[in-house]
């Protein structure tokens, strides 16, 4: 039997893994994947709370919006990454160092 706690632990793990991916990976596409993990952790939280605690539809609606917005953000992010790749011919995040003092 799944309880609320198990969902929250899974979402916490997803969140931490997402953060770790964003901090440690150097590939920009992998970093974008990390963002997706964090967003999905939040969406999972919303649905779990909606099912077990609050018993209203707010959480379900919110998670649908999260899915839509995550798609839009990924589209724009990937477009910029493609542009970056066309100019620099790499998607290594350490190459993005032109703007510094």
């Amino acid at each position: 039997m799944m309880s609320l706690a198990s969902y929250l632990i899974i979402s916490l793990i997803l969140f931490v893994v997402g953060l770790m991916v964003m901090i440690s990976r150097k590939n920009i596409v992998a970093i974008l994947l990390g963002i997706e993990l964090i967003l999905n952790a939040a969406a999972l939280n919303f649905v779990a709370y909606s099912r077990y605690v609050t018993n209203n539809l707010d959480g379900h609606i919110f998670s649908l919006f999260i899915i839509v917005i995550a798609a839009a953000e990924a589209a724009v992010g990937l477009a910029i990454v493609i542009r970056f790749f066309q100019i620099k011919e790499t998607i290594h995040v350490d190459e993005a160092t032109q703007l510094r003092n």
Partner: protein, 488 residues
């Protein structure tokens, strides 16, 4: 039910105008050929529609506060005044984008489309009354901003700016969302009013969890207004983006984020004492750090665009001080500061943009001896710099004075001293630039091409409020005083 919905729509006309403007601009853009004149017409149409939007907003100012769309949106004088500031800022930057060489000529109307889109997101954020509208506002604002910052798509710097913005923005939005999800679970709703009703009864673990969630939630808003720990992206993005975009970023997202921060602080942190104390403490620390980091880092800058970016961080730090008092005077001070800040920032970026178009760089050198070539523009720029530093008799002084007045009234002397020291630091780097303008040696008699009579007229028109709000500030102060937040 349906009738009520249509009744609500009448309050929502400004936002509807913006969305209609966006879609019609898309259609119009696909219809024109590559002629500069027809793009001028499109820009004129966009400015006209925004003026119409402004007209409806001014009408809304006098309406009683109201909740529409099942409590999702608040229309109160506070949000309406913030929207007026944002619409004026958008009109200013769209006009600037038309003459700027930084925006490719075939992307002029796209700039208007994106700017109006961000404006719509900002309006949503300013009047958000539940977590979903707030999140949608932040994301509408952010996603279009990512595109705007990489507008110079052939240049690696602009693309890099967009890339950094996407990565930092996505992370902070995700973290904020994770915080919101726990708030929803503990407080049982996404409506602000219902959430706040649960706050006084909280204790033990739940209280700690709510505090942590609010800090996570603050990451999202703090990132949009670029406060201290989340300001790292600001200078890079401001430097990489084209100048009209930078001017836009310095005004619209910041005002929208501040409006949301004010609303959230006032709704959530006046009922529960433990939460109130920790939130006010957080705001004080963040404000002090933001001011100090912004102003101290601004000293060493050689690019004027980057200097203005850091100084805008400093200004936001000062504006946050209006929140810590959690009273009407604080909100009034923020609103007045916002109005003045908008005009000053626009003028500074207008003049920087025309100079940078001419010389291809925005370092201090291009300002050298501007007074011998364009005396009016040089005097206005120097005056605006003094106003940004908060010197009387300009409006920047009145704005700064108001903030100091509210914090000293609350007996927060420590933070007042920090703010005063920061004003001195700010004065140093602003005066350094003003000195370059007035005492520097000009490189011959070459006139700046960008200062056409029309552009000069606009700059002078923008300068009038900066000058006169420093002396005749009562009227605007009354307007901002009446526009205090409506919370129920």
């Amino acid at each position: 039910m349906i009738q009520q919905l249509f009744g609500f729509l009448s309050y929502y006309i400004p936002e509807i105008i913006c969305v209609v403007l966006m879609t019609t601009l898309l259609v119009a853009e696909s219809a024109v050929k590559d002629e500069h004149a027809s793009r001028g017409k499109i820009i004129g149409y966009a400015l006209g529609m925004l003026a119409l939007c402004l007209f409806f907003l001014i009408q809304n100012m006098s309406e009683a506060p109201i909740y529409i769309f099942h409590n999702a949106i608040t229309i109160d004088p506070f949000s309406t005044l913030i929207k007026i500031i944002m619409v004026l800022g958008t009109m200013g930057t769209i006009f600037l984008s038309y003459s700027s060489k930084d925006i490719y000529s075939n992307l002029k109307s796209e700039f208007a489309i994106m700017a109006v889109g961000v404006l719509t997101g900002g309006m949503l954020l300013a009047s958000a009354n539940n977590m979903l509208t707030l999140y949608l506002g932040i994301e509408t604002l952010s996603i279009l901003s990512y595109v705007m910052s990489s507008f110079k798509r052939d240049e690696s710097t602009s693309t890099e700016a967009g890339l950094k913005y996407v990565l930092y923005g996505g992370l902070s939005a995700g973290v904020a969302l994770y915080g919101i999800s726990h708030l929803y679970g503990i407080l049982g709703s996404i409506q602000f009013v219902e959430m706040v009703a649960k706050l006084p009864g909280l204790e033990g673990t739940n209280l700690v969890l709510v505090m942590i969630s609010f800090i996570l939630f603050f990451v999202g808003l703090g990132y949009k207004i670029s406060v201290f720990p989340f300001h790292m992206w600001t200078p890079d993005v401001y430097q990489g983006a084209p100048i009209p975009v930078t001017a836009f970023f310095a005004i619209i997202p910041k005002m929208a984020g501040l409006a949301a921060l004010v609303r959230v602080s006032f709704i959530f942190f006046t009922s529960n004492a433990a939460l109130n104390v920790s939130w006010v403490g957080l705001m004080l620390v963040i404000s002090a750090m933001t001011m100090t980091v912004g102003n101290v880092t601004a000293i060493g800058q050689t690019s004027v665009k980057r200097l203005l970016a850091f100084s805008s961080i400093g200004h936001v730090g000062l504006m946050i001080l209006g929140i810590v008092t959690l009273n009407d005077e604080g909100v009034r001070a923020i609103l007045f500061y916002g109005i003045v800040y908008m005009f000053m920032t626009l003028i500074a970026f207008y003049i920087t943009s025309h100079l940078s178009d001419m010389y291809g760089t925005d370092s201090y050198d291009v300002f050298k001896g501007l007074i011998y070539k364009h005396p009016t523009m040089a005097i206005i720029m120097a005056a605006v710099l003094f106003s940004l530093a908060g010197m009387p008799p300009f409006s920047g002084f009145v704005a700064k004075f108001n903030i100091f007045a509210v914090i000293i009234e609350k007996k927060l002397y420590g933070i007042a001293i920090v703010a005063a020291i920061n004003s001195v630091i700010a004065l140093y780097y602003y005066v350094k630039l003003a000195k370059t303008i007035i005492l520097g040696q000009a490189d011959g008699e070459v006139k700046v091409a960008g200062f056409t009579p029309a552009n000069q007229a606009v700059i002078i028109a923008l300068f009038i409020p900066v000058l006169f709000l420093g002396i005749f500030w009562e009227k605007v102060m009354t307007i901002s005083g009446n526009a205090v937040l409506f919370i129920k």
